[in-house]
Symmetry: D2
């Protein structure tokens, strides 16, 4: 039922001489849980030994009985994952931890390399084996193959060979490292606690939860190294056009996070305001599809003066293990997740705000649910443009033909979802919602197909690309 695009992953790292690093990683992964719910892992080192604990499930399921711990632990990295490359197997959980000539190294990756297959084939031809189907194994093999001396040089040499989207946290026995691809597709920030511990996190909400103050973003094309001498920066790439994912602001990131200086909440609220102006829609009340549409709906109400009401209640207890009822009652699923508040809805002209439409099936069910609850009319406002193209940079998107906007016009979509009116925010409106970052530094490829990095074709870049059957 849930047809939203899925964020790939969240990465985390802690370096501390005084605080409990695995506990901080555990709390940090909780705060990043919205970025991946399929598996979680924490690797830890005390400066000599290194160990990793990984498992399928939510953070509280993987670490049900105990938080990993090691006497004298000083560095930890963590990862939450929703598979984009590689299927949902225990073998594909992260962080990946390996031995190489330089000792032990652990690595957590958020994003998707667009030339992973090519590099992998090259590595295989010179004798490398692959035990997983995750991009991280490609990167760590490049690091191990490098003839450079220092780990920093090895990593930089490796990153200069890969293309696409990556935010990495990397750990050796002595150092915590964080790297972001030259386009800066996915977010990555550095924070510091009052106790002097350094934290790297996909989002600022991962800093807040451990009481760390935001220090700065990791810059696109930068490798940040943290050890007892503090932070050292290694810019490793010639300047490329920055292309941060606009969808982080529309849907993926948590509302309370700040990405590259831009408050996610402020951007979403402003999207709603602009949506109100662009659409010119009028009605009795504004309601949101909870929770993803809440902030934009609030902005819409503020700009339009139309009151914002809680017209749909979301069941907070739908777990991942929900048993699919029989076919006959499958229609009841959306009812299980969302329920209208009849006293709010009845007889009203409703403006329904959501963040995006992917396949359109759920939107249609929600519109009908509101009409059955007595809505006089339902006008749908989407706080992003129509999604016409898949993403190749770390989002688990449907293939192109499953995107309703790739084959239908706005009016056909309106008819398909049974709405009385439908409006999508324009790209210009979306750009205008950004108050603290330059709109030109963002990637809008899923709306306009202006892909910043060349990629393999739709099928080839699918998440199971490394798991193909042997060709006859």
């Amino acid at each position: 039922m849930d047809e939203k695009w899925k964020e790939a992953c969240g990465v985390y790292g802690v370096y501390s001489n005084s605080e409990n690093v695995t506990e901080m990683a555990y709390l940090g992964l909780y705060a990043l849980q919205h970025r991946g719910q399929e598996s979680a892992g924490i690797a830890v080192t005390d400066g000599a030994w290194m160990d990793v604990t990984r498992g399928m499930g939510l953070v509280n399921e993987v670490f049900r009985h105990q938080i990993p711990h090691m006497d004298g632990q000083k560095i930890a990295i963590g990862h939450v994952r929703y598979s984009t490359t590689g299927s949902s197997l225990l073998a594909n959980t992260q962080p990946l931890m390996v031995n190489y000539a330089g000792g032990k190294i652990a690595l957590a990756h958020n994003g998707n390399l667009t030339n992973a297959m090519e590099i992998r084939k090259n590595l295989e031809h010179t004798g490398t084996i692959f035990q997983t189907s995750i991009d991280s194994e490609v990167i760590v093999n490049l690091i191990a193959r490098s003839r450079k001396e220092t780990i920093e040089e090895r990593i930089i040499e490796s990153l200069n060979q890969v293309k696409g989207a990556y935010c990495l946290t990397i750990m050796t026995e002595e150092k915590l490292m964080a790297a972001r691809d030259p386009h800066g597709f996915r977010p990555l920030v550095i924070g510091k606690t009052d106790g002097g511990s350094f934290v790297a996190s996909s989002e600022t909400c991962g800093l807040d939860v451990v009481g760390a103050k935001f220090v700065r973003d990791v810059l696109p094309g930068e490798l940040v190294v943290i050890d007892d001498r503090g932070i050292t920066s290694y810019p490793f790439a010639t300047e490329e056009k920055k292309a941060s994912c606009i969808f982080e602001h529309i849907y993926f990131a948590r509302t309370d996070s700040v990405i590259d200086g831009q408050s996610v909440h402020a951007a979403r609220f402003r999207m709603g305001e602009i949506l109100a102006k662009e659409s010119g829609f009028t009605g009795d009340i504004v309601i949101s599809v909870p929770d993803s549409g809440n902030t934009a709906a609030s902005g819409f109400a503020h700009a339009s003066g139309i009151p914002y009401r809680e017209g749909l209640v979301k069941n907070r207890y739908i777990g991942r293990t929900f048993i699919q009822p029989t076919q006959k009652s499958r229609d009841k699923q959306v009812k299980l997740k969302l329920n209208p508040v009849r006293s709010v809805i009845e007889g009203k002209s409703i403006i329904l705000v959501d963040d995006s439409i992917v396949r359109g099936t759920t939107s249609g069910k929600i519109v009908n649910m509101l009409k059955n609850a007595g809505a006089r009319e339902v006008k749908v406002c989407i706080s992003s443009p129509p999604i016409g193209y898949p993403c190749f940079y770390g989002i688990d998107t449907s293939i192109r033909k499953e995107l309703i906007a790739s084959t239908k016009t706005v009016d056909e979509i309106r008819e398909y979802i049974n709405a009385d009116a439908l409006y999508f925010l324009s790209i210009e409106g979306l750009q205008a919602s950004l108050s603290a970052v330059d709109p030109e530094t963002m990637c809008y490829a899923c709306f306009n197909s202006a892909y910043p990095v060349s990629h393999e074709d739709d099928k080839g870049a699918g998440k199971y690309v490394f798991e193909e059957r042997k060709k006859p």
Copy 2:
């Protein structure tokens, strides 16, 4: 950390000659999950055989692998539980299913009997054994002991002996029954699907999820019997002063439910509106403690004209199995659950709306969190009066001395939670929020100690009353 009062339980029942009754019960319990997260169970009959499946945990944990099923099944009852009487043991899960002279009977109970101990002692003295510490076992023994002939007469005779709060769903091989105590403490409704199936549910949201239309409330002091002849009503008690729990409207029930004709959402929204007027508080923005304060905050904003903003983000992934971090980092817990949106908060005079204050600890942490995020001032508005007295009718309340309002004045509480101002809704204001029910039919005992039914003392009525140590 979570100091809210806990609803006791939710009960459910389905009677159908055409639909899948256990699947409906499963979906219904999902919708009632907010009423109890400790255990869940479903009993089912095909008219000859009867079986029950129960377990500790959420509905999706108990029925992780399969929904109970029986060929030819026609009646099912279900239960979700947060223990009020009896500790959290597998043996205490419901529905209770037993054999007695009349065959098999299953029973699910929401509420708390105030004379359970007295009846139990009497039953024990005439040779009855008790295998659990739940009130339901008392009721079912009374039914078995009755000399009446029909099951309806047996139940009525039994209910006339018990006092306190109860909503029951009961099942024999032929009949589904639903009963509500003469005061109508807890809610209970009847619905019907298009396919002709009857549903009994603690709240109307349990009807919606299976597509059942609301038929009517079970009346206080009424036993409703459903079989192939349809619905039969047995009023079993002389008229008593009705005393429905006002806290269902303040906090317990789901916003989309309708109780005794009153929309919960409408009541909460109105509480916020009246709170705005009564408090006269001014400020830059209204924010809510999510999710319980959302509707009242919305009403407050509407009445005051002060904009409603999303100032606190709630982590949706805090599971029941969260490992307590070490003492040192316990302060991070509230940060794990709630995080302020700095761009919304900074420099603002904030009106913070919540539904109630029990011990005050969390409220204090939230106020400080907002101030640390840059709030200029924080004025707290509570959409209920100060809770000064425990409940004896099925809510898991703290004992009296733990209630902050039992020992502190409003100003002392304000100081304790570090708020710049604090206002509690008056009882009159609370009563005025009810548009569709007579305010005189509600129980306000936790605010004013006007207990409708005599009860044992604070200690005696505790949840472990049946589990005492042998006196030397």
Copy 3:
């Protein structure tokens, strides 16, 4: 595949002022594990509080994470179960622990009451409910219903109402009690440790494992009470013909146990010796069906002078959770469990000794397995007479028509199992194998239908007798 009759249960009890009673019960149940592998439980008291831990599975599965413990614990009882009455449900695990007018009581039962249904119906007619389908609930209700004052009198009054087979361990907050039915169907012994702790156990191997010395058997019709004053004996029944189960000596009990003074090993060895003489069989080697035929085979070899060889190897790792392979490979099952040692078998005339034949299927497979491994001929010797009748006293027997000896002659059985010769020990021979007990005090009903206690018919006394469907 395993077609052996199953022992019902094992019971255990410990009373100590100095030793760890739950740990002793845990070790004792390990030693009694062969008497029941479906569920296990331990109840414990410290003299004021009482608690029980029960679960499905082997002792090491139920107590996988910890042995039950209670500060100041002084009495514990334990139970292992293979269901004879009541299906394999968590609700039917033992010990049963209940509250009654006199306080708390826990009870563990080995055996099968022949008038349980009748008593249960009577109790139901006076208002008793039943939550399980085990006999123990009948007994405990009788105790609760008794008007007698002391617990000893209550128990005795109750035991005088029930018929059939029972060995009980019972515990109140102050006393450990052990009772054995007037016929003494099943074994029960008392031991004492050097530390002064008292132990009650189904078999002496349960004493050995905790270092307790055998004190004496509980006598048929005796209630033994252990408290701080030591052991008190209450003979509660007028003398009845003793009828101890001969099958304990043939198969159920562990070889190292001593029952009513008779060494089980000595009896089995002697059965083999007599079998050798009675059968007069000659051959090259004697082999056993491991492990149940080992001792008798050894005796056969000793008496006949024919060498005893290890001709069949048993796989020690066949767990209860073995997945059934597909139909096609079901024949491989017996191969999975047993494998012939070709170098021992090849070209030999073999005398194969087993303890009993129930349905004959497995015996046939073993004979064929030996022939396929090169045996020249296979003569089968059984150390018990043909089983022609079911047991109604606590053994999970097949119904009569499934017993091969109820419908086939010895020669027909020989043909069915493809043996070259077949001999069953005579009842006289069986009796002669007992050196320390009077053969007249044993029950041979499964061989000669001389049932000591009247019983309901074959169907009525089945293990699901309390779980019948409602009659239309």
Copy 4:
């Protein structure tokens, strides 16, 4: 308590165009379960796709819910493991399955490479990473690094680089391969079913269980390749002195297996016979430490004419998850596992036969247990010479100083275990027990330190060799 040496692993493989290969592997691993109880795994291919299922625990625990299956499956390999190299981690379970330039390959390994660390360091220096600490990863990297064209050539080139003990089953999408090191340390056989399926198994008992007939042993230094053309043999090593593990015959292998033509049962029986003659011990009865001493005890009895009796009963239900009781009752552990049959023991002069003594602790407890049960005297006979040296070829041995025979004379050991006499079989006697293989082709290094292959020192070759801490 259990101080026996542990066999490393068991390997299995099936190639079939008609039978269910994963089911056969599942049954085969059951039969090989005695060779490893820590983890199990099965890899399977249908000729194009390949998949692996692995887990910690016994075969029936790892495959608790289903046997792996793939439509069109035609090759499977399996592995059971007791860790010798690498700790007991999920990451270290086998078969290992990887992608390399030639496609997918899976490998299962029994044994221990003596130069694994050296090769690993070399591979790391040229850029290889290691994700596990098992030898198998070294082998598969060598295969991937090989510049040879065919998989057979790659494997042979790789095997020529490694030293030590290995039996391998290897699988590509098209071929099943089995290889045995040039010394033939561990056993490996090939069988064929009536249906034309080929089976490779560590022991012949793995053939029997699936109805496969023994075809031949894999020869030392031979790679056997099975595909649709049948069996092809690739001898890959120049002739080395054969050095099969004598301990397979003494203890590791199942009694019903045949290794290199020698019946294990026949060898053990003969060891007992020779032991009787060499020791010249007299007594009333011969008893065995079950189960490992049974066959030799039987041989001893046969040769000496002293009757063989079942004097010790073994508890069949001691699982891996047994909870350690408190220190005080640790002495009860051996009682939990073994119990004497007093009626057999009492007043007797006993000859106790066991297969080996490692640390001597358990032997001492058993001798005392027999004396406490009334034995007049206990003479201990061991069917192998004193173990004075560790094994470096795939057995989980104690380090040298823990071996009682490395520091004590036979008479000191006798005193330590409190025996009245003690005799160890001579190496010459051991050699004489082999009727079908040349005694000169066996390895006796653990008795006489004549190691066939050079090895790193005692500490260096420990099982955690690949898991060392970083040197400062």
